[in-house]
Each structure stands twice: as C-alpha cells, then as structure tokens.
Point group: C2
Chain length 232, copies 2
Amino acid sequence: MERAGGNDPSAGGEEPELLSDQIRNVLTDEIASGALPPGMGLDEQELANRFGASRTPVREALRQLAVTGLVEIRPRRGVIVTQTTPERIMEMFEMSAEIEAMCVRIATYRITPIERGRLIEMHDASEALVQRSDIDGYDKFNREFHEVIYGATHNAFMAEQALTIRNRLKAFRRTQLRHGSRLARSREEHEAILNAIAQGEGDEASRRMRAHMLNAASAIGRYIATQTRKDV
Amino acid sequence: MERAGGNDPSAGGEEPELLSDQIRNVLTDEIASGALPPGMGLDEQELANRFGASRTPVREALRQLAVTGLVEIRPRRGVIVTQTTPERIMEMFEMSAEIEAMCVRIATYRITPIERGRLIEMHDASEALVQRSDIDGYDKFNREFHEVIYGATHNAFMAEQALTIRNRLKAFRRTQLRHGSRLARSREEHEAILNAIAQGEGDEASRRMRAHMLNAASAIGRYIATQTRKDV
DNA sequence: ATTGGCAATTTTGTATACGATATTGACTTT
DNA sequence: AAAGTCAATATCGTATACAAAATTGCCAAT
C-alpha cells in the first residue's frame, strides 16, 4: 500500500509531518495497543481537543483508518474502533500464515547469497535471546527475520502487502510469545525453515512456515477465545 | 479492508451515501479506467468545482485513495495519480496470481457441493460466451468465477483481500482478453482448475491457477511493456 | 543567453461556521 | 407502569475562511 498504513518517516525526501498524519499514527498505535479498545466511540471534537487541533485533521485521520479497517464509520452516527470477532481474528491469522508461506516459497527461489547470509546471521544471534528469555528482543528479531524474507521475494509490492497484513495483526499478537517455551520452539521452527530454503525446497519451506505461523497463532487463539467473549 | 476500496452500496443497513464517498468512487473508476492518467495532478479546487462540492469532501476522498495507493500525496505539493512503473505492475500481477493460487488451494479443501455446483454451472454457461466471442460477457463471468472461489475459502478476510488486490489491477487488466483465442484458452484453463478441485487436489489446482493467471498477465505484460515506456 | 534571486500568486493545510441528521430525555397516553 | 411521541441537544457532514508554504514569473546580474 505505498506509504499507506505508513509509519514511514524515512524515505530520504524529507517530507514535512502533517498534523493529520501524526494523529493517524498515534491513533493507529493506540488501537493496535488496545489503549482504544474495540467498540469504543471516537468523538471527533474530543480527539481534536486532545491533540490540540481542529476537527479537520482528525477527520482525515479517521477516514484513512477506516480504509485500513481499523475503525468503522457509520455515516452521521460516529466512528468506532472496529469490533473484531474471534472468528475474524482467526481468519486474519490464517491469511497471515498463508501470506508468509507464499512469501517464503518465492523467496526460496530468488534469495541471494547475501540475503541468506543475513538470515543465518540473525538466526544465530537469536540463540542468545532465547537463552536470556529476552522476549522483547526476540520479538524485534522475529519481525526483522520475517521482513528479510519478504524482501527476498524481490517483489516490492508483495513485501508491502505482507507487511501491511502483519502490522494489522500486531494488535492481536501482543500477547503472543509470553512463554519462554514458545520462544525456543519458535527458533527451532525458524531453523527448519532456513534448512528448507538452503536446499532450495520452496514448497517445503512454505509448509514449514505455515505451520510455524499457525503454531504461533494457536496460542493466541486460545487466549482470544476466552478474552473477547465479553463483547461478542 | 473491510468495506474499504469499497464500491459497496449494498450491505442491508441502508446507509446514506456521503458526498465524499461518491467522489471517492468516481475518482476510483476514473483512475482505474485511465481517464485520469498516471502522473496527472489533481487540483482540489478544480475537482470541487467539477463535483459541485467544496474542497472538504474532495480532500477526504483523495486521502482515502492515497491509502489504497491509487494517488500519491506530497505534503504541500499536491496530489498526483500514482505513477506505476511496468516493473511494479508486473509485481502486482505476480502477487495477484499467487493470491489466486492460494485461494483456490484452500477453497479446494473447503468448497461445499453447492458452491462447486455453482462453479460448474457458470463454467458450462461460459461456453456460449466463448463461441459468441462475447468479451464483455466473458469478462463479467470471469470475475464472478474467481469471486466464487474466494468465497469458497470460507475465510471472509481472505476473500476481501483477494478482491481488493484484484480490483486494484483492474486498471491494467483493461486490455486483457481482447483476443478470441485467449477467451477459449482461458476457458480451458478454468476447466483444468475445476477438475483439480473436483479431485480434491489442492496443490494441483493451485499450480494450474497460478499458470492461468500468469498466462493472462503475460499478454498484458507485453502490451504494458510497450505502452508505458513513454512515462518512465 | 543563462542563471540566480526575489516578489506575486497559487495551492495546500488547518481552523471555524453552519445546516442537517441522529440521539436523548421528558412528557403524554394507554 | 410501559410504550410511544415530540422537542431539545449533540454530533456529524459540508462549506467557507485564513495562514503558511511552494510554485511561478519577472527582473537583474554575470
């Protein structure tokens, strides 16, 4: 999606940060983090006051979030944080798993030695994180690991889409790797994937990636099943 | 993307059509159809005059289109229709092919007899369209055919995403099936896919779908390669 | 003739204003 | 007492107003 869902203040061009963009980014984070829970109504004037701005940039931000699906706009009835049912969350996780599987399959056939080297290097370094049970550190590594794979598809559009979907799931992945055991398992799965890549077995890498993603998702799924029951 | 890129005036709820939504839909179509060519600047006041509205709803529409990637906003420097390079178009086609392949694979394992019956029925009816060389008719059938497959994944989120990507490629698929021969070939490929589905061979259906999509894309690719060279 | 800088103009980004629709609460009626 | 109706209020959608930044055109200087 271009620089869309974009928290992308990089891109050398040195573009000015518009108020509406800042507001959009803050709201994105707050929704993803759960600070603004699903179903909560978002009053334009109220948000405007909070940000010290007028309704105009707030409105623009909300409209953009609606395209992403983060909020829902009912004409003349206000904006609410999208209520995501457990079923839909599971659908999103499945989609995410399939996308990752797709990416790794293509990446297997196109990855360069340099990229593969970087993956292996990152993977090696991750062992220390597991032993330290450094959850936040592993989380960061994990994200980068998957992003390198996106890049190795050498299809920028695909990489963007994959990242967009992954980001969209961030809100629900929050509670994910909170067990050290999952950390170690995750790393083993990464290794299995890397082996398949090294042997040029795209389909096998794809299957292992799908399993990897669904393993991660199932833990969350059990949590969500109990957690979101309240507002369904 | 929810009801995002959404020309979706259905959804029983009977929501009022906002000016900003109407403008967004019109602009979407005009960009997709090429009436607003890539690189063209979009002046807010000018558009407002054209639609007999003020700048406010026009701005909201443009901001939403930017999220989709149809237009590009350079802060304080105006809005232009996104310049899509031939490379990127090919990337989008590849992504589309992979998504379709992914969907049909999952659909193979989950499709209901009723859904399969509908696919076969549509496929049978399409023979007449081929013989008549009814390109527009076949185009419509083709879209529905693929949408039924999306639905058969029984993953609404996946179906939405697939449709969003497909719609986004509409602009570049315009010149596609302009040869009767491609029409017949397309139908044969559909049949091969249906056979794989019938036998429960998800991976095979997936491969055939990928080939089907890439066949369609390659014809366009050759066209685009010559056509878009002007503005690169 | 070309390039550099400056002023005028245009256009964007944000703020404010206004009309219309939905929501809320009280009151009446059964 | 419960339900329906109507008025008051609040909030949304759009229009207009204003300030800041970028583009454009002109003039001068090399």
